[in-house]
């Protein structure tokens, strides 16, 4: 419920989200033997972009103009529903996990339509890939949330996370670990990270998420990049809640930074998959989630 603490969590999320991609880039550079950009680079980019003019193709319509704002609003609404460790979310009610996933889906819908609006072949290719792969990643998320609900008996995200701490014991650990693995894969897929997508590539023909924002420029691009950072923050919070549910906010923030570093290491250690191989990976994530659910089902009465 709205309170000072939960409101502070939201504000910290809004402020700190661009830090995550910065940390990931820095870790990747360090692993590669370079110094890399400063972790605050995300903020500098956003400020720089906000001062540029809008660049909207003549082919684009009001859909392209409105999509970044609506998408960002959707992700911010999602942030209001995400608990942080022991503290509940700003708003919580039964089925808020559905509203969260629905808001993320709305953000993706806006980005896809904006990409199709420009009539650019590259952007449409990215939109097609992003839409198809997200469709295949959804079951993993739903099943893992079902696992959490089964484990805790709660129906809202805040309840699930709060209930994980007291109810989780050694017998529940394998199931929860499988759920966390599935969430990790879903996080990499939904946030355009290696092995599903390469965020640093300049090759339009291989892009998924980057191609969606290919035609965005200036403030529109700033909104899309910020929205993407917030989405990564959301997924990170969910993963942290799963792994360190009993912790307080400070531990969760530290965990987020460690997670960003972890993503950087994972990205450095592997190459990006062929696009043909991404659907089986996502089905694998769903299978992991289902296995985790089955284990939890066996251990809960």
């Amino acid at each position: 419920m709205p309170s000072l603490g939960t409101g502070l969590n939201v504000l910290i999320g809004l402020a700190a989200a661009p830090l995550l991609p910065g940390i990931i880039a820095r870790v990747k550079a360090m692993v590669a033997g370079r110094r890399g950009p400063p972790p605050l680079q995300g903020y500098y980019d956003l400020i720089r972009l906000l001062h540029k003019d809008h660049l909207r193709s003549r082919t684009a319509t009001w859909v392209f103009g409105g999509a970044p704002a609506v998408g960002l609003a959707a992700v911010v609404c999602g942030l209001l529903l995400m608990p942080v460790g022991r503290q509940p979310a700003f708003f919580s009610f039964e089925g808020d996990w559905m509203v969260l996933l629905g808001c993320l889906a709305l953000a993706r819908w806006c980005a896809i339509l904006a990409a199709l609006d420009t009539g650019s072949g590259f952007a449409a290719m990215g939109a097609s890939r992003d839409a198809c792969f997200s469709a295949l990643a959804e079951p993993a998320l739903f099943i893992l949330l079902a696992g959490l609900a089964r484990q805790t008996g709660e129906l809202s995200l805040s309840g699930m996370v709060a209930g994980l701490a007291p109810s989780a014991g050694l017998t529940d650990a394998p199931g929860l670990a499988l759920l966390a693995a599935a969430l990790g894969l879903a996080l990499l897929a939904e946030n355009a990270r290696i092995p599903v997508d390469d965020p640093n590539t300049h090759l339009e023909l291989t892009m998924i998420h980057e191609a969606l924002v290919l035609e965005q420029a200036g403030p529109d691009l700033a909104l899309m990049l910020y929205g993407a950072a917030l989405k990564l923050w959301l997924f990170g919070l969910l993963l942290m809640n799963l792994l360190v549910a009993f912790a307080d906010s400070f531990a969760v923030w530290c965990g987020m930074i460690l997670m960003a570093a972890g993503i950087g290491v994972v990205e450095s250690a592997m190459a990006r998959l062929r696009l043909l191989k991404v659907p089986p990976l996502l089905v694998g994530a769903a299978a992991l989630a289902a296995l985790g659910f089955a284990l939890i089902w066996r251990t809960t009465p």
């Binding site: 640093n200 300049h202 023909l205 592997m270 990006r272 998959l273 062929r274």
Partner: protein, 489 residues
């Protein structure tokens, strides 16, 4: 093959010695010769006073290590060679564009360099069907690379057909070479294809030395070979790093990027320019290598070799990288032979050809480098061949540096003999580079034909991409790594 004149590369012959055939017989002889394993490596044309076009065919026999020459005179239409021998397709398109000849029955008579009109704007093959969409990439690309236009016909993610239209870098180099004063000419070769400076300048210098009968001293030849191998090392390392970058594998990408810089700095150590500008001149090389610098070079080579080995071996041992490389962009041995591919792309497809071994000139006459081949013809093959060549070049460099011949490093160039012809071949890092030079009765250059290896390999990339996934295109393109400038001249 009795009548085609046989010569060795980098030797001059009088132009009159080249036998002239009527057009049909010329065509028959070329087709017959290439049936038995010979390759067509150049087909330059020149205008006679009468207004017709003299076309010279240069055939190469890898087994014999010799070149075979024959000429014909054409005026207007003739039966195309490409109908029977696809590897002549680019040569005949060039003849048609430059001299206005009309090869009848040429199955792919499209503009090559667009000397007049808008580059890249031509009729592309359109795959019929409403579900097919066209992806057009370029000429302006998203990275800092040269301009070229790629037109894909795709069914979803599957490429049904790829067509490549170049010509954006056409500068008229060949025409400028003949008109330029002698001292300025070498600058054209240095920048003809900017990353193949040593390859082209070496071929040019050897051509001039052959035409003036003034060979370069052995020390110069050794230094040229060192520079050529360093160029090969730098580019191959850069390519492996770029391949890693395209699959998102950052460690190797970053390390190889730095290592390429190290190799370039070694070239700079010799001549002050990282790309070898100002090093090779007709008559020798402009910079000598004292023992101190030679030791420094050897020390650096050892250091870099260690780093390169660890960075590149990481590629082969990472399953996700190998999953991206293997089986992608396959060029079969037949296709490679039919299209006349050269260089690492051909060797990766199983063709055992290397100009350093088959047509050695300069220092390669005395020291051989084993040829690196692979059989699969996929992206992995082309990458692995590069790695093998890196290792062999490093060994060669160490051997040569410890056995540099004494003596001068250059001799003053002499005047060119009149009415002479020569063909020089170098194995630059992209493949076999062929230069054909002819002098007129005053001893000035009448014809200079440059055949960059990219000229012959671009079609291979188009064929390799058929039936592949479009997201694998950058990887295939990078595995070939062809020169747009070298093609467009």
């Amino acid at each position: 093959m009795k009548d085609f004149l046989s010569i060795a590369p980098a030797r001059q012959i009088p132009i009159e010695a080249v036998p002239m055939f009527p057009v049909e017989e010329f065509r028959e002889r070329v087709i017959a010769a290439t049936r038995n394993g010979m390759r067509l490596i150049a087909l330059p044309g020149r205008r006679t006073e009468a207004g017709s076009v003299r076309v010279l065919a240069v055939l190469a026999s890898d087994k014999a290590g010799a070149l075979f020459l024959g000429e014909t005179e054409m005026d207007g239409e003739y039966a195309a060679l490409t109908r029977d021998r696809p590897f002549a397709q680019a040569f005949e398109r060039e003849l048609a564009e430059e001299w206005g000849l009309r090869p009848l029955g040429h199955p792919w008579l499209k503009p090559l360099r667009f000397p007049c009109g808008r580059p890249g704007v031509t009729d592309f093959l359109v795959v019929q069907g409403e579900g097919i969409h066209e992806i057009s990439v370029g000429p302006v690309h998203a990275g800092i690379i040269e301009p070229g236009h790629f037109r894909f016909q795709c069914a979803g993610e599957n490429v049904v057909h790829l067509e490549i239209a170049l010509g954006y870098q056409h500068r008229g180099v060949e025409q400028s070479i003949c008109k330029a004063p002698a001292q300025r000419r070498v600058c054209y070769f240095e920048t003809l294809a900017g990353d193949t400076t040593i390859g082209h300048t070496t071929a040019y210098a050897q051509a001039m030395e052959a035409l003036s009968d003034a060979p370069a001293p052995p020390r110069a030849e050794a230094l040229r070979a060192i520079a050529l191998e360093l160029e090969r090392l730098a580019n191959h390392t850069g390519d492996l790093g770029a391949l890693a970058n395209d699959v998102g594998f950052l460690p190797t990408a970053s390390y190889c990027g730095r290592l390429r810089g190290d190799f370039l700095n070694m070239t700079a150590l010799i001549c002050g320019s990282r790309f070898g500008r100002g090093l090779v001149r007709p008559g020798g090389v402009c910079f000598d290598l004292e023992p101190s610098r030679s030791d420094e070079l050897r020390r650096r080579l050892d250091e870099v070799e260690k780093d390169a080995r660890s960075a590149v071996e990481l590629l082969w041992s990472t399953p996700t990288v190998m999953a991206r490389f293997e089986g992608v962009g396959v060029v079969s041995t037949d296709v490679a032979r039919t299209l006349g591919l050269v260089g690492p792309a051909a060797r990766a497809a199983g063709l055992d050809q290397d100009a350093r071994r088959d047509f050695p000139s300069g220092w390669y006459r005395f020291h051989h480098i084993p040829t690196a081949t692979w059989s699969t013809g996929d992206v992995f093959g082309r990458a692995f061949v590069r790695w093998l060549e890196i290792q062999r070049s490093l060994a060669f460099l160490r051997e040569t540096l410890s056995a540099l011949p004494a003596g001068e490093s250059n001799r003053p160039p002499k005047a060119l003999l009149p009415q002479r012809l020569t063909v020089t071949m170098t194995e630059s890092w992209r493949g076999e580079t062929v230069h054909v030079a002819m002098t007129d009765e005053h001893g000035a250059l009448a014809l200079y034909k440059v055949v960059d290896p990219s000229f012959r390999n671009w079609m291979g990339l188009a064929v390799a991409m058929r039936g592949q996934q479009i997201s694998d295109f950058p990887l295939c393109n990078k595995s070939f790594n062809l020169s747009y400038c070298g093609h467009d001249l």
